[in-house]
């Protein structure tokens, strides 16, 4: 009797839990799904309210084609975004692996000073130093270039990624290094051949954060890129959404939003483990 009751209670609890979970999941996913489905409506239908969200008058990629016809086109902005994000990933990984190794394994003058200097930049909002960054880039001849934007993004990533990499190197037992050193490995060989495979998860984590950070950043790109051919996707899409190219084509806006969202979602789903790990590292320390 009591067993049956507790069975019932268990089932009721499970039912309540899953209905809550499903309703909440739908609420969080609906805007994304709604947008992605709507992009495949023909232009005429995309102007109407998205009820229902899926195409009712036939499947079409017209919105993506329209988008590519605005200004310098979707493809140019997409290429700019890809270039900026990939370069930010490569450069910030390179710089922070070197720095993480240096901070973890060597004792040199001003080591702690430099480490605190780099980490403390996280306290200062980059939004407040954008004007001088603009002037510095002009002085360096990097004004209105994607390379200049990459330099800014790399700098923004460094406190987090150097912190991550130093911890990753700290976790590698020194015995491994000493053994390799006795085998005659030089510093660089040791870093690349021996250490890198051991800190690989950390590298994936910082690469993921660097990509998402650069791909999604808006304000710096808006301020620093003045030439339309240099616009990244968020800047390009905002120009389109503000009606800079004439009447606002919401079908094209949704297509652009989809292009901006999908790489982030795929990367996150594929590398979720590394993402959560990065969040934890930030949260625990």
């Amino acid at each position: 009797m009591t067993e049956a009751m507790s069975q019932n209670r268990k089932a009721a609890f499970s039912l309540a839990r899953h209905s809550t979970g499903i309703i909440a999941s739908v609420l969080f996913l609906a805007p994304i799904v709604w947008t992605v489905l709507s992009t495949f409506k023909p232009a005429q239908e995309a102007r109407q309210p998205p009820l229902p969200p899926w195409p009712t008058t036939g499947f079409s990629v017209e919105n993506y084609e329209t988008l590519n016809a605005f200004g310098d086109g979707l493809w140019v902005s997409a290429q700019n975004s890809i270039y900026v994000s990939v370069m930010t990933v490569l450069l910030s990984v390179l710089v922070s692996v070197l720095a993480g190794y240096g901070f973890s394994r060597f004792r040199f003058p001003f080591r702690d000073f430099f480490f605190v200097l780099i980490l403390s930049t996280i306290m200062i909002p980059f939004q407040s130093i954008l004007t001088p960054i603009f002037l510095v880039l002009t002085r360096l001849g990097l004004h209105n270039t994607l390379t200049g934007l990459v330099c800014v993004y790399v700098t923004l990533q460094l406190p987090f990624s150097i912190f991550m990499m130093r911890n990753a190197f700290d976790a590698v037992p020194r015995e491994i290094e000493e053994a390799a050193r006795m085998d005659g490995a030089s510093n660089v060989t040791m870093l690349v051949k021996v250490m890198l495979p051991l800190v690989w998860p950390g590298v994936v984590t910082i690469a993921l954060f660097a990509f998402l950070g650069a791909w999604n950043e808006f304000l710096a790109a808006l301020v620093l890129m003045t030439d339309q051919s240099k616009f990244t996707l968020p800047v390009m899409m905002t120009a389109l959404q503000s009606g800079r190219f004439g009447a606002i084509d919401w079908g094209a806006v949704q297509a652009g939003v989809t292009v901006m969202m999908v790489p982030c979602l795929i990367l996150f789903l594929a590398l979720q483990r590394f993402y959560i790990r990065g969040l934890m590292a930030g949260a625990v320390k």
């Binding site: 969080f28 009820l51 004007t131 899409m237 969202m261």
Partner: protein, 306 residues
């Protein structure tokens, strides 16, 4: 054999030890260079520029504290700051009100929990600009979702433009930010919940403590550091809010949703008053540094706890 090898290694490492340590400087040099050129120097320049009248073209002139005096009289800046704080308080409460129950919901490993967690977290990896563009469409009066849907369901007599007046526009932004950020805060709170020892909760159950008593006496105090971290992240992020107000509202209706960063952006890159923008930036910077110091204080490790 082993003894000989380790002795010779010891000698070798002693002679070249200090030299080898200096190599470390080379490893960290690129990072230091980046931070110096693109952070430390601009930071110093902001301080210097704030003491100058600095137009985009032409010579700049030293004006002492004039820019700061002008800030005191700049009612639009103070209104922007006031709005920013108002937004920060409301959005932080809203985020926690959604994220905390979600964190409790996904804390324990049960069937499908990972799936739910992933679903709740998805909007967090979408950029703020993408999310703002997405919602600017959903909120659009003619082609969007909310107003037409409400009209079709007979909830409103005509299509209501949600972005035309302050209250609905403001709460629409809050809804969008909660949708985008709650999953992120949820994960951080979850790590705090999971770090609470299970036996502590069980002991309290045996002692006859109800769920609310346990939450107040065990969960909250032991989560203090995680809560502080989630709180500071939310507050700092909200004070720097720009994307959503620029993309969805353009600071409207009637400039009522201009945030601090938005006002600095306008002064610096629309009016090109770079010196004045720098002085405003210094004020913002001081607020954020003060917040970071509070954070360090809140996150300090007390004796015997944690």
């Amino acid at each position: 054999m082993t003894a000989i090898a380790s002795t010779s290694a010891l000698v070798r490492s002693r002679t070249s030890a200090s030299l080898r340590q200096w190599v470390g400087l080379l490893y960290v040099l690129p990072a230091v260079a980046f931070v110096t050129v693109f952070f430390v120097i601009p930071l110093g320049m902001t301080a210097w520029m704030s003491l100058n009248n600095w137009p985009l073209m032409g010579e700049h002139a030293f004006v002492g504290l004039d820019n700061y005096v002008a800030i005191l009289r700049d009612t639009r800046f103070w209104n922007a700051l006031k709005f920013t704080f108002y937004y920060t308080v409301i959005v932080t409460i809203a985020i926690f009100a959604v994220a905390f129950p979600l964190a409790i919901f996904i804390e324990k490993p049960r069937p499908l929990t990972n799936l739910y967690r992933t679903a709740f977290f998805m909007p967090a990896v979408v950029g703020f600009a993408s999310a703002s563009l997405l919602w600017s469409w959903l909120l659009n009066v003619d082609s969007g979702l909310f107003s037409p849907a409400a009209y079709d369901l007979g909830l409103t007599e005509k299509k209501v433009n949600l972005l035309a007046t302050f209250q609905p526009a403001f709460w629409s932004i809050i809804a969008m930010v909660v949708w985008k950020v709650a999953g992120f805060t949820m994960i951080i709170l979850m790590t705090g919940l999971q770090s609470i020892p299970q036996d502590l909760q069980e002991a309290a159950v045996i002692d006859g403590a109800g769920p609310f008593a346990r939450f107040r006496a065990i969960t909250l105090p032991l989560m203090r550091r995680t809560l502080a971290l989630a709180l500071i992240l939310s507050v700092a992020g909200s004070i720097l809010a720009f994307d959503q107000f620029y993309i969805i509202l353009r600071g409207g209706p009637r400039n009522q949703t201009l945030t601090a960063v938005y006002w600095i952006f306008n002064q610096s890159f629309v009016s090109f008053k770079l010196g004045y923008g720098a002085a405003l930036s210094m004020v913002l910077l001081a607020i954020l540094v003060a917040l970071s110091l509070i954070q360090l204080w809140l996150l300090r490790r007390p004796e015997g706890l944690d």
